[in-house]
C-alpha cells in the first residue's frame, strides 16, 4: 500500500450521461496524461499552468483517436487531494471511457479504491477533520461489502476458476519451495517439465478469464446491432416485433426513418442495442442525406449487422451495395416479406452461404425466433458461451488478472533462462498475491501448510 502512487477513477456516475469525467491523482498523473493525450495547440500538459484547461484528443497505443476530450490540470498542493490532479472530460459514452481508463492503467496508474480521493484529501490535510467520519464511512461500507462484492461479483464458475488457479499456483510454489528449503530431505518433487506445463495451463486459464471478461463488457454495454436495408424493406417492422413496441414510425412511405432509432432489448439476459437506420440511397432531401451518412457510421460501429432483403422485389443496386459494404462483417441476412410473392432471385447473389439466409415475414411474425437465435449465436460465440456462468464482472478484477498474467509469463521466461527455483517463485508469488486480491484473501502460511500436508518432512 503506497500512498502517493497514481490513482484513476471515473468521477461521474457510470451510465449514459453526456459527459464523463475521468479523474487522476498522484505523482504521475500529469506524466500519464501526456502519454495518452495530445492537445489541439500541441502544448504538453506538463507545461500547462495549474487550473488551465485544454482541448485535444485521447489516443491509444496505435496512435488512433479514442475520443475528443477537455483536460484540466490542478497541480498539487492546490488541488482537492493536494496531489497533482488531472481531469479528463470526454463524451464518447461508456465504451470509450472504459478504453481510456484501460490505457491509463497500462501507463502505470491503478484503480482508486472507493473513497480514496477523499481519503487522500483528508490525509493530506486538505479537508476538515470533521469530515473524517464521512471518509471512514465510505471505506467502511466498502469493507463490509467487499466480501459480498467478492462473492456476488464472481459467479459460480468464475469463482471456481479463480480458486482453482490459486490452488494450482500455491501447489507449484510449494513444489518449488520444497526444492529449496527442504533440499536435505529425500523428497520426490515435480519435474521441471511438469512445472512448465502447469504454469502454461495457469496462463491459459487466466487468458480465458480475461477474454470472458472482455466479452462480458460487450454484453454489459449491449451488443450493437445495426439493421440495414433499402427503404421500406421492413427494418422498423422487425425492430418493433422484437421489442414489442411501436417506437419506429412504420409506414409504407420509403425513407420514414430519418435518423437512427435505438432500442434496447434483453435477449435472454444479453442486452442488445438495435439501431434502426435510414435506408441507404442517394436522396435530395437534406434531412434524409444526413440520416444516410449516419447509417453508414452505424454500420461501421455495429457488432452485428442485420441486412434485410425484400422477397417481394427484385434485388436492387442498393441491396448489392449493402451486401458489399457489410461483407466480412458479422452479419445476418434476412429475406423479409416471404408472405408475399417471391420476386427476389437471391440465388444469383454472391453470398457465401445461401442456406444461412433466414426467411422471415415481419408482418406475419414468421421466422423471428430464428433471428433471435442467430443473434445470440453470433454475439456469444459458437461455444455456447454461457453469460451467466463464466463472466467476471468487475474491471478491478480484470486488471489484477492482467497483472498476474504478466507475472505468469515472466515465470515461464525465468524457467527458460535456466534460473533456479527462487527466481521462478518470485514471479509466481507475485501472481499469487494478485489473484488472492481478487477474492480478498491474504497469502500467508498457505505455502508452508501445503508443504507439510503434502511432503514427508523431517529428518
Amino acid at each position: 500500500m503506497s500512498e502517493n502512487d497514481t490513482i484513476v477513477a471515473l468521477a461521474t456516475k457510470a451510465g449514459n450521461s453526456a459527459i464523463n469525467i475521468i479523474k487522476l491523482s498522484g505523482n504521475k498523473s500529469i506524466e500519464i496524461t501526456d502519454k495518452i493525450f495530445k492537445s489541439a495547440n500541441k502544448k504538453k500538459i506538463s507545461k500547462l499552468n495549474t487550473y488551465n484547461i485544454v482541448y485535444g484528443k485521447v489516443y491509444d497505443d496505435k496512435n488512433e483517436v479514442i475520443d475528443e476530450a477537455i483536460v484540466s490540470v490542478m497541480k498539487g498542493p492546490k488541488s482537492y487531494t493536494r496531489e497533482d490532479v488531472v481531469e479528463i472530460n470526454c463524451h464518447g459514452g461508456i465504451a470509450s471511457v472504459n478504453k481510456i481508463i484501460d490505457i491509463i492503467l497500462q501507463k502505470g496508474a491503478r484503480l482508486a479504491e472507493p473513497g480514496e480521493f477523499t481519503k487522500r484529501a483528508f490525509l493530506n490535510g486538505r479537508i476538515d477533520l470533521s469530515q473524517a467520519e464521512a471518509v471512514i464511512e465510505i471505506i467502511n461500507a466498502k469493507n463490509i461489502t467487499s466480501l459480498k462484492i467478492a462473492a456476488n461479483n464472481l459467479t459460480g464458475n468464475s469463482r471456481k476458476a479463480i480458486k482453482n488457479i490459486r490452488e494450482q499456483i500455491v501447489n507449484i510454489i510449494s513444489e518449488l519451495e520444497v526444492k529449496i528449503d527442504f533440499i536435505e530431505e529425500d523428497l520426490e518433487t515435480m519435474p521441471i517439465k511438469k512445472i512448465i506445463k502447469e504454469i502454461q495451463s495457469i496462463e491459459k486459464k487466466i487468458i480465458e478469464l480475461i477474454d470472458n471478461e472482455k466479452k462480458s463488457e460487450i454484453i454489459k454495454e449491449g451488443i450493437k446491432i445495426a439493421i440495414v436495408g433499402k427503404p421500406n424493406v421492413g427494418k422498423s417492422s422487425l425492430l418493433n416485433i422484437m421489442t414489442g413496441k411501436e417506437k419506429s414510425i412504420v409506414t409504407h412511405i420509403p425513407g420514414t426513418t430519418r435518423d437512427v432509432v435505438e432500442e434496447t432489448l434483453n435477449l435472454d439476459g444479453v442486452p442488445v442495442i438495435f439501431k434502426d437506420t435510414a435506408g441507404i440511397r442517394t436522396s435530395k432531401n437534406i434531412i434524409e442525406q444526413l440520416g444516410v451518412k449516419k447509417s453508414r457510421e452505424e454500420i461501421e460501429n455495429a457488432d452485428i449487422i442485420i441486412l434485410i432483403l425484400d422477397n417481394s422485389k427484385k434485388i436492387s443496386d442498393e441491396d448489392r451495395e449493402l451486401l458489399k459494404i457489410t461483407d466480412g462483417m458479422k452479419r445476418i441476412i434476412l429475406l423479409n416479406k416471404i408472405d408475399l410473392k417471391n420476386k427476389a432471385d437471391i440465388e444469383k447473389l454472391d453470398i457465401d452461404n445461401l442456406k444461412r439466409v433466414i426467411k422471415i415475414s415481419a408482418k406475419e411474425k414468421i421466422g423471428i425466433n430464428k433471428v433471435i437465435k442467430e443473434i445470440k449465436k453470433i454475439a456469444l460465440g459458437e461455444d455456447e458461451f454461457l453469460y451467466e456462468e463464466k463472466v467476471i464482472v468487475n474491471k478491478r478484477q480484470r486488471v489484477l488478472l492482467e497483472n498476474a498474467l504478466v507475472d505468469i509469463e515472466n515465470a515461464i521466461k525465468t524457467i527458460k533462462m535456466n534460473y533456479s527455483e527462487e527466481f521462478i517463485i518470485t514471479d509466481l508469488k507475485s501472481a499469487n498475491s494478485k489473484i488472492a486480491e481478487i477474492t480478498g484473501e491474504k497469502t500467508g502460511e498457505e505455502i508452508l501448510n501445503k508443504i507439510f500436508s503434502k511432503f514427508c518432512i523431517g529428518k
Binding site: S2, A132, N143, I144, I180, E184, F423, C456
Partner: protein
Amino acid sequence: MKKFDLIVVGAGHAGCEAALSAARLGLKTLLLTINLEKIALMPCNPSIGGVGKSQLIAELDALGGEMSKIADETFIQMKTLNMSKGPAVQSKRAQIDKKEYEILMKKIITYTKNLILRQGTVKKVLINDSKVSGIETEEGSSFLCQSLVITTGTFLRGRIIIGDKEYAAGRMGEYPSARLTASLNEIGIKTDRYQTATPPRVDKRTIDFSKMKEQPGENDIYFSFWKKSKNKSNISSFLTYTNKKTHEVIASNISKSPIKSGIINTHGPRHCPSIDRKVINFPEKVRHPVFVEPEGRNTNEAYLQGLTTSMPIEFQKMIVNSVAGLENARIIRPGYAVEYDYIYPNQLNLTLESKNIENLYFAGQINGTSGYEEAAVQGFVAGVNAALKLLKKPPFMLKREESYIGVLIDDLLTKELVEPYRMYTSRAEQRLLLRADNADIRLAKYGHSIGLLSHREYKKVLNKIKSIENITNLLKSKFVKPGEEAGKIFNYLGSSDIEAPVKLYDLLKRPEIKIIDIMQYFLLNENKIDSEVLKQAEINIKYEGYILKQLEENKKYSTIEGISLPSEIDYHNVSGLTFSAQEKLNYFKPETLGQASRIAGVSPADISILMINLKSRKI
C-alpha cells in the same frame, strides 16, 4: 543484596548471546544457569546452519554476535546446501563438535569483562510497579537488577516422555525449572505448552558404515565475515534409509507411541516429526532417510537424524536395528520427547521486551521458536535492547525487508503460530535481497552503531562497498568491440558473438558468462580484486531485474511501516473497523501500521481506517 544492571536466566544459545552483547556494551551482567557444565549445549542435532538458518547466522555475525565464530572454530564438517541454485538460497551447514562448542563458549563468557556466570535456578521474578526489580532462586539467593532477559529453553516445567514413562526434566539428565512459570503467570505473562523430540544416539563402533553412503563436507568454507578460522576439519556423515521392516515395527506398535497413546497432546514442530508420525502420515513412502552424524571428536556418540522417536526404549532398539548398517547398533542415549512452557510471543515488542512489564525480555525457545540459530539471534536482540535502554539509547529493531532477523521477530508478533517456529527462506518476501553473502553490507552499519562491531571491521565493509561500486562502474564504462579476437573468446565461453560494441556490464548479464571470465579476458590490466567484491558485483548485475523488482516492493512497505500505533488503543472503540479486525488488533496490539497490515483478518480497508483515525487523532 547484590545488584546487577542485567540478569540473563539460562545459558543456552539465546542466553549466551544476550549476556555477551549486554556485557560488551558495558552492562554489569549476571548469567544464571541451572547447570554450569552445560553452557550452549546442543541437545538435539549438533549442527549449525542450514537453509534459512545460515542466513540468520550470517546476520548475527554481521552485527557482532558470537555463534558464527565459535561454530567456525569447532565444526567437524561444513558444506553448502543448494549449491546449484542462486546465491540467495545457498546455505552453509556445519556439523559441530558438541563438547568443543560448549567449552569454547564457556571460555569466552568466563573471560568477558562485566559478565559473571553463576549456577542458580530462578523461581521468582521480582516486580516493582510493573517494572522488573530482581529475581529469587530456588537455592535461596536474591539478586536485584534493572533488566531481566529470560531464555529458559525447554526448562519451564519440562517433562520428558519415553513411551509410557514420564518425569520432570529440563533436558535428559537435567533438573527442570519448576516454579518460574507460576511467577510469570502471576505478573500477567500468558503461557502454553509445546513439545519437541530428539532421536536416540548410538555407539559409533557398533555401526556398519559400509552399508551406508558417505556424505563428505567441503573445504575452506566458514560462517564468519571477520575472522578466518584455521579449522580444516572434514569428518564425513553417512546416509542410510529406513525400510519396510522399520515401518512394520512402528505400525504394529503404534499404540505405544506417546503421540498415539495420548500422553503427548501438545503441538510439536511439523518440520521435525518423529519417525512414528512420518509412518502414520505417509504410509505410502517406502523409506525415509537417516543421516548418521558424529557428535564430536572425543566421543563415540552418533546422532541418528531422521529417527526421532519417543517410543518405549525396547521399540527404539527394534526401530534402530531394522535400518541397514545399524543392525547391531547399540543405543547409548535413548530418544525422547520433552514438553515445556512457552509464552505467547504477541506479548512482546519488536525489542523482545514485554509489552506490560518494563525491562523484562524474552528470547529463544520460550518465545515459541525452535532451533539454535533462531534462539541466538533473539538472545542478541534482547540483550542489545536491554542494554540500549539502560544506556538511554534508541532501540535496535530490524525490519523484515532488511533482514531474516526482522522477519523472524515480525512473524512472532503478527502470526498466529501453532507450532515451534523455524526459519525458512520462503518466509522472507525479499529473499533475493536478504542473502547470507551480503549480510555484512546490509547490517554491519547497525553492529557498528550499537557498538558491537569494531571500527576496523566496519571499515572493511565500507571499503568492500566502495570496491563493488568501482568495479560496477568500470564494467559500465568499458566496451568489447566485435572482431576476430573477441569472436574466439565468445566461442570459447560458449556464448554468441557480438556485432556491435557491447558494454562489459551487459555482457555479464548473459547466463553463460561469469565475472571471472570478464576479468580474465577483457580486464586483464586491472589489479587483482577481492573475490568477495567480484561476487557481489556479479550478483547485483546478473540478477538486476529481479533485485530491482524486490526493491520496488520494498518501497511499498516503507510508507506504512514507519507509522506507529499507540499501545493503549482499545480497537473495539475504533469506529469503522470490522469486528474481526478489532479482535485481531486487540490480540496482537501491533506497534506499527505495517505490522497491523500483516495480521490475518485485517484488510487494506481496515488499514485505511486506522490511518484516518491516526490522522484525526482519534486514536
